[in-house]
């Protein structure tokens, strides 16, 4: 009961509140208002919603690990707190994890439509998630176009027949093994995953001391100023030597921080680097 009263109170408060102070204020009043609660949801909102419909994005929307950060510039940012979000009078709230586990139920009780972006464990999942998110945001056509473009780009990638192996390594020393979405990206680029242990693991320095991958896909190294773990195995001299010795494809964090259409950028970059390397050898 108390909880319901609080929700009603917050909704009334939101109704009394002035409209958000955004640059798109006038246009937004006329249409529906969409608020995104985290940087993954930001990508979908920026891709599928009209700019004047966006009442708020997450505070991370312009960070280096946000793929659509340039599009996010100039738009209102809001912390994923219930009251702050309600003050923006949203019609739709989009989230993957933002606002915490009770956020979806809370906003639904407040009469706000919640679009929950699903989890993608494979490239097929990614396409499904994209289409569903687009449908839920009311942009089915845009969703179909994104999926079609993704499929076209994937079909254009020529697989490397040599099957060179590659190690996916993050700046925090995490490596992606078999069964992960990253593993599928590596194999789709025509390469074999150096990390044969299933799932996500910490880099084994001892294995690197004995074996060397043909290539390293170095990810999240552009966030080194955001990452303060100075004891990650990725900064150990053994890992640093491999990074200096082995051909490295640097993957911007924005490409892999969320499971979305831009994962194709990863596959294209890996395939292109491998093709260039093989051309040099020939």
């Amino acid at each position: 009961m108390v909880r319901q009263l609080i929700i009603i109170g917050l909704v009334l408060l939101a109704a009394c509140a002035p409209r958000a102070n955004t640059s798109d204020k006038d246009q937004t009043i006329a249409g529906r208002r969409i608020v995104s609660l985290d940087y993954c949801a930001d990508q979908y909102v920026l891709k599928f919603a009209n700019r004047n419909e966006i009442a708020g994005l997450s505070p991370d929307a312009e960070k280096i690990f946000s793929y659509m950060r340039e599009e996010a510039a100039g738009l209102n940012k809001v912390r994923p707190r219930a009251e702050d979000v309600l003050l923006l009078n949203p019609d739709i709230v989009v989230r993957t994890y933002g606002g915490g586990p009770n956020a979806a139920a809370f906003f639904e009780r407040a009469g706000i439509e919640v679009v929950q972006i699903g989890y993608a464990a494979s490239l097929d999942d990614v396409k499904t998630v994209i289409q569903k998110a687009a449908d839920d945001i009311g942009a089915s056509e845009k969703g179909r176009a994104v999926v079609t473009k993704m499929e076209t780009r994937l079909s254009n990638i020529s697989k490397n027949p040599s099957g060179s192996n590659i190690l996916y390594l993050t700046s925090k020393g995490a490596v992606a093994g078999t069964g992960t979405l990253i593993d599928e990206l590596l194999t789709t680029a025509g390469m074999t995953n150096f990390q044969t242990r299933p799932g996500w693991n910490t880099l084994s320095l001892e294995r690197l001391a004995h074996e060397q991958p043909d290539r390293i896909a170095a990810s999240f190294f552009d966030t080194s100023d955001l990452v303060s773990d100075i004891w990650t195995p990725a900064r150990h001299p053994i890992a640093q030597r491999q990074l200096a010795r082995v051909p490295v494809t640097e993957l911007p964090s924005a490409w892999t921080s969320c499971g979305a259409w831009f994962l194709v950028d990863v596959i294209e970059a890996l395939a292109a680097d491998q093709a260039a390397l093989e051309q040099t050898i020939q």
């Binding site: 960070k63 690990f65 925090k172 084994s204 001892e206 955001l226 303060s228 195995p233």
Partner: protein
Amino acid sequence: MNDRLLLSCLGLASLAAIFAACFLGSTPMPPGRLFAAMVGAGSVGDHIVLWEIRLPRAIAAFIVGGALGLCGAALQGLLRNPLAEPGVLGVSAFSALGATLALFYGAAALSPFVLPLSAIAGALAATFFLAFAAIRNSSMVTLILIGIGLSSFAGALMALLLNLAPNPFSLSDLISWTLGSVANRSFADLALAGPFLGAGLIFIVMSGRGLTALSLGEEAAHGLGVNLRRTRMFVVIGTGLITGAAVSIAGAIGFVGIVAPHLIRPLVNHDPARTLAPAAFLGGILLVLADIGVRLIPTPSELRLGVLAALIGAPAFIWIASQRRTGS
């Protein structure tokens, strides 16, 4: 027990513990292969595994444990309190806070020395505060309570930093400072902390005579011609430097500084000066053994060294505290 014999036994045990730690790792290395790697006769990979992964890790554990054992013994001698220790008194927590602040605000990227210096600054702030409190209040219980208060305050400030973590990636990095670990350490990390450890060691060694005299009481010590102010200052600076350097290597690890001197004290007739070196050796051995335990305990992700040390050390702390007859 004869000091030379005790130190010889502890020295041998230290070598044995470090040697045993070198057997552990993801690469199966039987003794023959390990010996070959040791003398440079094995494969390049084995040589790298031993000299760049396993040995630096074992030595890091030994140095950190030794540093904490030494600081515990020195603080216990100075404060005449068997419960005094960098972890309990909040010195380690403030040191970890100093390091975390340097990382949080990006100062650590300016120079490799910023991190150990920040950890040392945090440790020195706490030790100076404690020394000041010790001069003003002679109650041992009060001093321990002040230390616990300092530790809680450092914990609260650390929680504030976690609360304000700028992005999802840095949160777990900041937490790691409070858990303690020597995994992935290289000789370069140890070399960075080395000068500070050496300087701190000189201060502690120079305070030895004063600590022995202090065990007879302040007046007696004064009568023996000991400069108490200088002794206090040396211990405070020495423990600040050493604890800060240890924290910059491994994060905050508690309770080693209580357990090691407590076990050594009966063997050296409760002489604070004679406790210093053996407590350092035993602290080192204990932490190397704990790090072996961390690697042997089958948990989904490797247990943190500080967590294991606290799991063993906290009950030991309670036991030692309950053995004390007086509460003054």
